[in-house]
């Protein structure tokens, strides 16, 4: 991109080309139409400011989605405002899983299902969906950014203002709760 005027023209054309994709991406994560629209707008504005950094070798959509992920993470930070820190009184789902000598109370089952099957088979996907819906709000949001969107844990800690240990514990809880729920619903 040569001048700022060129960049601005190009980005305006991208609003039509990628705007809806980015909007659905944001809406699925933040579940709030007004917020999703705002995040898409902020993404385009940020993209214009760093248009020089855009290398043609990555696709425009991937580049914009990369910016949007961080806008979403900022959105979650203000939404949770410190509620992402572990409170001493928090119940830990891992306490349920182990006995006093730190062995499994209920041995993990030997899963035969493949990830493809779990995500594509209509019946299994429904279970995955229901179990995911049962994660508490903050676990859901953090888990999504990390596990699905692949944000780096260092960046997430910075975005959320929490310690790495704090983040690792939240992620372990989310994974453990999901796995336990899937097993309870017959996933093997």
């Amino acid at each position: 991109m040569k001048s700022n005027g060129d960049a601005s023209d190009l980005l305006r054309s991208w609003v039509g080309e990628h705007g809806d994709f980015l909007y659905r991406f944001a809406l699925a994560r933040v579940r709030d139409e007004a917020a999703a629209e705002e995040l898409v707008q902020e993404t385009f504005v940020a993209a214009l400011k760093s248009a020089q950094a855009f290398a043609q070798r990555s696709s425009a959509r991937t580049w914009l989605a990369g910016i949007l992920k961080h806008k979403i993470s900022d959105h979650f930070r203000s939404k949770w405002q410190g509620a992402l820190s572990l409170e001493t009184g928090d119940s830990d789902p891992l306490d349920e899983a182990f006995n006093a000598s730190n062995h499994w109370k209920e041995p993990p089952k030997d899963w035969k299902t493949s990830p493809e099957n779990l995500a594509e088979n209509a019946e299994l996907r429904k279970i995955l969906e229901q179990c995911f819906a049962r994660l508490s709000g903050r676990l859901r949001d953090v888990f999504l950014l990390r596990e699905v969107d692949g944000l780096d844990t260092g960046e997430l800690c910075k975005d959320f203002g929490i310690t790495p240990t704090n983040l690792w514990v939240l992620l372990h809880r989310a994974r453990h709760q999901l796995k336990t729920c899937l097993e309870k619903n017959g996933v093997r």
């Binding site: 305006r12 705007g19 809806d20 909007y23 385009f44 891992l94 182990f98």
Partner: protein
Amino acid sequence: MMIHCRRASRLISESMDRRLSPFERAALGVHLCICDMCARYRKQLSCLRDAMARWWNRPETGLDDKNASLTDAAKERIRRRLNSD
């Protein structure tokens, strides 16, 4: 070098988020050789990660309306912001 299952489960999850120290890697490796249950747990968490990514790559995941889109007015607002900035 011996760690119990609770510690192992934590290291299994954390290995998905950070690089374990050489000591942690060795301790977890030894534990997984002798503990089928934790080996299964590791397999489960890794299956879960892949399944989640696949599921969320489906265009309708997380949306009530898979065709949800920006209104024309919203697109126009964004284009105007790009002009004025």
